[in-house]
């Protein structure tokens, strides 16, 4: 049913075959295994690389043509946005904090993805996989650049964006995305594709780019929605690379199935943990809401992921380990993360706040099984304390999970009143985890994870101060010394949104009544 009547020109499939296949060769001066040292040691058995499918059949000339078109459209919007002072048209200056997290945590991952795909694009022996990975490498560089360009406009007006790549290597919560990607890049090429293309992009990335970007549009940020959707338009190709790679491995040899399942288990959980911050952005940082994290999870993870794993069952693949726990988490993780960042707002270069009453009501409505019972009273208490002049900032350091590097704030499955702690011993040392999922991942590869650069440990070991700092001197303030090492502008980049320079400036630029409190704006639309 695929073959059609041959026309004067070659059809798409023939054209694609003619332009992409038979272009690779086996090396003769050196053995193939020496030239391609990475594509066998993971144990994945490939018998016939010719079976690799590229369903989009995008040839290089078509690729450049459509990518060029996307860029022209995107830069027209970015330009217009800048010329018209679009930053003043966003719903509320609190929203800008979501963009700060974007440039701090997401954009550097685009660059890491660029490098990661360039690496695997060099190291597969199959030409089809190499071409797909190389195209993606170029895409990811484009995403890094367009996000940097689009957000650089905001950087002229708002705090918390001026040092993003420096922070990525240093700031405690940015170790979460950084370690995720370095874990993937230090795996072999098949694990990398399973991690990034399949588990992250196919199963989870819709949750980042689709509802959140629709939310950006709803909040008047045409620049972000345009770079978001422009990046996401490449994502369809990336997701397809992910699912094709999985199918290819599973079809090539039944011995691949357990290896792939183990990777899916690991990377689903790693990706799920990483998305905690997106859950929080969606529920707390978009003043005008499109959908809750819970609704997005149901639509993109449960419904779509469910369909995917039902389809893959024919290969003997099951739902990832921890799936049920992740589904239970939809009622909780955004609230637990916001609570953590609210408390650590002195140590993070973005602002937090207690939502307005209207927003609290929206959360109550969207989370009938958890919000009023567990989370709303806490937020109302924080607000009361703040209004009494006692905004609380935690200055101690949290215990981190050795695997995902997130502070231990997740709760026990089945009991949202109890923090979940797990531990294991390896080589005489004790290691701590946020969940069974993270503990299990560690136990599969302890020699890898004992090397984790855990920010809190590093601070305690004295590795996060500027040269010449003497922690033994009387009155030493470790947090201040760490923030100095981060190059964070204390008082401008951090603390509550209420009373921030961003808040003041935005109100002044818009001609709003000064200092009446942010509470009057925003709210569900």
């Amino acid at each position: 049913m695929d073959t059609r009547v041959t026309k004067k020109k070659l059809g798409l499939k023939e054209r694609y075959a003619a332009m992409t296949r038979g272009l690779a060769w086996d090396t003769t001066y050196q053995p193939m295994d020496k030239v391609f040292p990475f594509d066998r040691y993971e144990g994945i058995k490939i018998h016939d690389w010719e079976k690799w499918e590229d369903p989009f059949r995008l040839t290089m000339d078509a690729y450049w043509k459509y990518q060029g078109e996307k860029e022209r459209k995107l830069y027209a919007v970015i330009e217009a946005f800048a010329q018209n002072n679009g930053q003043l048209g966003v719903a509320d200056a609190r929203y800008i904090n979501a963009l700060k997290i974007f440039i701090q945590a997401v954009t550097p991952l685009e660059y890491m993805a660029h490098r990661g795909f360039a690496h695997v694009g060099r190291h597969f022996t199959g030409a089809g996989a190499r071409v797909a990975a190389q195209m993606q490498s170029v895409d990811e560089l484009r995403h890094f650049q367009t996000e940097t360009h689009a957000i650089s406009h905001y950087n002229k007006y708002f705090n918390g964006m001026h040092n993003a790549s420096h922070w990525y290597d240093r700031v405690w919560y940015l170790a979460v995305p950084k370690s995720f990607f370095e874990d993937a890049m230090s795996g072999g090429p098949f694990e990398f594709l399973t991690a990034v293309s399949f588990s992250f992009e196919y199963v989870l990335t819709n949750l980042l780019f689709v509802p959140f970007m629709s939310g950006a549009a709803h909040n008047g940020d045409m620049s972000t929605v345009t770079f978001g959707f422009s990046a996401q338009s490449d994502e369809s190709r990336h997701m397809t690379l992910g699912i094709e790679c999985i199918k290819f491995m599973l079809e090539q040899d039944p011995a691949n199935v357990p290896i792939v399942q183990r990777w899916i288990d690991k990377w689903f959980w790693r990706g799920y943990r990483l998305l905690t911050i997106v859950a929080m952005m969606q529920d707390y940082m978009l003043p005008k809401r499109v959908m809750s994290w819970k609704e997005a999870w149901e639509m993109y993870a449960e419904e779509n992921g469910g369909a995917l794993f039902k389809d893959l069952a024919r290969y003997g693949i099951r739902l990832p380990k921890g799936w049920e726990i992740a589904c239970e988490g939809k009622d909780h993780i955004s609230h637990q993360a916001w609570n953590a960042f609210y408390n650590f707002a002195a140590a993070a270069p973005f602002h937090t706040w207690v939502p307005t009453d209207e927003e609290l009501n929206w959360l109550s409505e969207k989370y009938p099984d958890s919000f009023d019972q567990y989370y709303r009273p806490r937020l109302e208490f924080y607000r009361e304390r703040q209004q009494a002049g006692h905004r609380y900032y935690s200055k101690t350091l949290p215990m981190l999970c050795t695997t995902c590097q997130i502070p231990m704030f997740f709760t026990e499955p089945g009991d949202p009143t109890k923090i979940c702690y797990r531990e294991t011993t390896h080589g005489g040392d004790k290691y701590h985890f946020c969940s069974d999922g993270c503990k299990h991942i560690f136990e599969q590869e302890p020699e890898k994870y004992v090397q984790s650069w855990l920010p809190v440990h590093q601070i305690y070991q004295g590795h996060c101060f500027k040269p010449g700092v003497d922690p033994t001197q009387p009155g030493f303030d470790p947090l201040a010394a760490v923030l100095d090492w981060y190059d964070l502008n204390v008082g401008r980049d951090n603390f509550d949104f209420e009373g921030s320079e961003d808040q003041r400036n935005f109100a002044t630029w818009r001609g709003d009544a000064p200092q009446a409190g942010s509470a009057k704006k925003g709210g569900a639309a």
Binding site: D2, R4, K7, G11, L12, K13, P55, F56, R57, L58, A62, Y66, E69, K70, K73, N206, F209, V210, P211, M213, S214, G215, A216, A217, H218, V225, F229, Q232, S233, E235, S236, R237, M239, T240, I243, V290, M291, E298, E302, E303, N304, G306, A307, L308, F309, K310, D311, R314, L319, E324, C327
Partner: protein, 95 residues
């Protein structure tokens, strides 16, 4: 435990703009089982089991030639196995 009870849905989403509109309209015309859901900036089309995008229908909508690979420009996301040739683009699940 939320595996889908009956037929799994495929979906395809586009930026909600003028370029994508004839594509969306063609999909809805060719796939009576599909429904379109609009949110800001975005239109997402869901269909049980399978969905087809036909070049001929898009060309009827616009009155000019259309290369199916042009959908990449406004495509936001999709789900399902893909099969594409010059005349149609399909999404399906095996079950």
């Amino acid at each position: 435990m939320n595996t889908v009870a009956t037929v799994s849905k495929v979906f395809i989403a586009f930026q909600d703009n003028e370029e994508a509109r004839p594509v969306v309209e063609a999909i809805l015309a060719d796939n009576p089982q599909a429904d379109a859901v609009y949110s800001p900036g975005l239109v997402k089309i869901n269909a049980p089991g399978h969905l087809v995008v036909r070049r001929a229908t898009i060309e009827e909508q616009t009155g000019r030639p259309f290369d199916l690979q042009q959908i990449h420009v406004n495509l936001v996301t999709l789900s399902g196995h893909i099969d594409e040739d010059d005349d149609q683009f399909t999404l399906s699940w095996n079950q």
